[in-house]
Assembly symmetry: C2
Homo-oligomer: 258 residues x 2
């Protein structure tokens, strides 16, 4: 079992080290991650410029590779053969913020796992639900304990083709976590605001600012699970077809094209 | 009806001009698009740096805004109020390459429409299916004719919440297009290859190269529709939950967390 560990915060992020250590009992672990932070980068494939890869060492001495590409590029590089052995499983994280609801389309952590799923590999994304009440300490050890229990389950059971697991973990000591919940994606409420400023030469520039997104803690959703201090495990698919909308659309009176 | 026109190829791309002209009969048109090419950029939200917006003019004299943000940033800027009036509808494109199957998660053209859908706006992405056989001429006029027929249908019928339309158009004269097909997303076959080179100082760098992706032209899919010279209209949703995988996962024996 050859496990690729990547993330979107950069190879030296503490969450990546915790994840690499957590999955080490289950196979050979290779780390290939971005050399810088790519948060909110989306699903990127870098075709317009060459990518560099350099050897680095994690804080515990583990050898690792750092690339100037995006998280999904790191997975593509690994799958396409930059590592001597083929990859069997992809884990991404541990992200220091939750990736729930619509976040998954923006999230570099999740899109790294998506890239793994596109290549047919069982893939998991791990994120810690830091929020306004609990952000003093980051409990990577809790997320690592979750990964150490879930990864062997995935190795044993496999995952359906083109489905990845998006895992969010309460940012609490392990003893405060109440258990597992298999969930659907919930509804994020974004609270972005446009902030206009002027540079020293009087020209405007803009920040996308505002409060952190919140969410509807509906039962059965990832957001609801986290609100109840459960680990949320959401199967995420690559097929984005809105099947329930097909019939409605087929009833439209499409005009002649000629 | 206030229509936002954006794309991922940059504000001066000919596809954007064709799209802006096509939708002009249906309302007030505002153009806010990236100042450079963002192809394969994924769904980006730029939070770590401020964004600039400058006034430019399209080739036909239309005033437009160009931002140094990603396509989805352009939509967010417009929705968050950089334009004096609220947006009612988002159109993105015309991309000079198809966005089918799993492409939609990478595609800047589609993620601009996703951003519109996240904000609750009816949103459409338009792409032209250039392929190895038909790439001598780009038939933007065909895609524009499709947009001019489809946009009023969307204004009339509306779209389900959080569903966007991903529209792919054969790269043919309009007379060669056989009609409309409402489709699901097909299966892309990526043919990426890793290409290793050495720089003048003997250090390696890597290209993600290889042939263009191909696809399975299955009946009922976007890829199948294009293969038969039909316009493909695919409803795409933001909810990526793999619902069919929920029951299987709930049957797993999750170990105790303590």
């Amino acid at each position: 079992m050859h496990i690729l560990v990547t993330n979107d915060d950069g190879v030296f992020a503490p969450g990546l080290l915790a994840l690499a250590q957590a999955v080490r009992p289950f196979g050979k672990v290779s780390v290939l991650a971005p050399d810088r932070n790519w948060s909110a980068s989306g699903h990127v494939k870098t075709l317009h410029r060459p990518l560099r890869v350099k050897e680095v060492q994690l804080a515990d001495g583990t050898p690792a590779l750092a690339s100037d590409g995006a998280p999904s590029d790191c997975v593509a590089l690994a799958v396409l053969g930059i590592l001597p052995e083929p990859i069997d499983l992809v884990v991404s994280g541990i992200n220091p913020n939750a990736n729930v609801g619509h976040d998954v389309t923006y999230s570099g952590t999740v899109t790294a796992a998506m890239e793994g799923a596109i290549w047919g590999l069982p893939s998991l994304a791990f994120s810690l639900d830091r929020n306004e009440e609990n952000n003093h300490t980051l409990h990577y050890e809790t997320a690592a304990a979750v990964a150490a229990r879930l990864v062997p389950l995935v190795i044993e059971n496999g995952l359906p083709a083109h489905v990845l697991l998006n895992v969010n973990i309460p940012n609490q000591p392990l003893s405060a976590v109440r258990g597992w919940m298999v969930t659907r994606l919930g509804l994020r409420i974004y609270r972005d605001e446009l902030i206009r400023r002027e540079d020293p030469r009087g020209k405007p520039y803009y920040w996308i600012g505002g409060d952190e997104p919140t969410g509807l803690p509906e039962e059965g959703t990832d957001i609801g699970a986290l609100a109840g201090n459960y680990v949320s495990v959401t199967p995420v698919q690559l097929d984005l077809t809105a099947y329930q909308a097909l019939d409605g659309l087929r009833g439209w009176k499409f005009p002649d094209l000629r």
